[in-house]
Amino acid sequence: MGAIPETTTVDLRPGPAPSPAPPRIGVLALQGSFALHAAVLRRLGIEAVEVRRAAALEGLDGLIIPGGESSTMLKFLLEEDLFDPLTAFHREGGALYGTCAGAILLARSVENPAQESLGLLDIEIQRNGYGRQLESHVGACPCPVLGEPDLPLVMIRGPVISDTGPGVEVLAAWRGAPAFVREGRVLATTFHPELTDDTRIHAYFLKLAHETRQTTAGKKSGTILG
């Protein structure tokens, strides 16, 4: 795993908080492991909002798109007109984190089979890249940005990131492919930290959402949802 590029270390220790209010986080609750993500956030002291309609994005600093079936979630995004509100949420400064199906929905391009995606993260991704359920597996991978110990990794019919754009940082890799990536205020993992006891990725996301909020404070209008 020596192939992981150098990255800037993010200090996860609670320092002097720039703002006393915790970030407001939503979990896209159309289908999948949204309740498990909410449970991890609860352990970190955050009560997440379940997002099923665009209106629920209002006022959020960050949104998690959970694991599940990307083809099912995509139907909802298309038929219930969530594409534009999610794109606007990102444009207006919202932080995003996608796990597995969530990573697929955020990607620039999706293969195996090809399907539409939000294009908010400059990666190309293969659905079910390891194969069917019998190929689901666990492991652990180093992640310099989060420090020791290695990140536990649960892959359930996981996707494989086959290409990353120049703006994408690879924060952890597994079996030679990026497994945890970041582009600006967008994070994605091809595995499921919500199925483990390790809360570091969620804490990292909260910090990202919090920082993003500081930099976009006052910029956000109340009209992003049209």
Binding site: A29, L30, Q31, G32, S33, F34, A35, L36, R52, G67, G68, E69, S71, T72, K75, F76, C100, A101, N112, P113, R127, N128, G131, R132, Q133, L134, S136, H137, V138, V154, I156, R157, H192, L195
Partner: protein, 292 residues
Amino acid sequence: MSTDFRLKTGLADMLKGGAIMDVTNAEQARIAEDAGAVSVMALERVPADIRRDGGVARMSSPEKIREIIASVSIPVMAKVRIGHFVEAQILQEMGVDFVDESEVLTPADEENHIDKHAFEVPFVCGCRNLGEALRRIGEGAALIRTKGEAGSGNIVEAVRHLRRIGNELRRLTILTDDELMSAAKELRAPYEIVRMVARDGRLPVPNFAAGGVATPADAALCMQLGAESVFVGSGIFKSTDPEQRAKAIVKAVTHYRDPAMLVEVSMGLGEPMRGLDIATMPEEELLQTRGN
């Protein structure tokens, strides 16, 4: 919990908040996937036809299963007869993602269920009460569903089973530690699992609903009663407009607490499957009493 078991329940976790649809061929599987199903269940005949035709109902043919696997990108489940571990070996070998050891098919063993720990592929099993659920979990099931009354188009039995499981779960949580062995004896369930459930107040695996779902309202009812996803058997392909009904049930599962959305999705669906009055059915025609 072993690593392997986390992978098994993990797939069930990813299917939460979704609809899993019975299909008998590739064309139906594609209709289900296009409607937004999170998974399809391959079987030879839908339960309503099994009920009508009689005879022995078995695992679907390998050709059909292969055809269904090749036609969709979502996980594929398939049913085996209760106790028929060789049918399960065949499905695992074919790469099926989840095996349903199902009372809808004719049981192969009237005493024993499959030792599901022996398999890499995860299993789902039906139950009518908490004891039955915990016995199946003890045998290695990674997902529990209500039995309901398959092929009846009548939600009454699924409701009965969901309510009973919820009620029995809540009762366990108020018992003292020294009362749990007696509770395990009454439930006829493994003591260690009874203790875990009493401590957590919930099953150690996801809990879905099945058996008799015919309308979007039926699906939302199961969700509001605590089911985490819904299996739809005959309800889709025995209705007059399977495409629209499948879509509507998918949406009803997601928006199960949103009455305005339930109104919207319940319109323009044509006729649901014709239902059966379970109270007037002879005992020997019930599928839910198979396996225990």
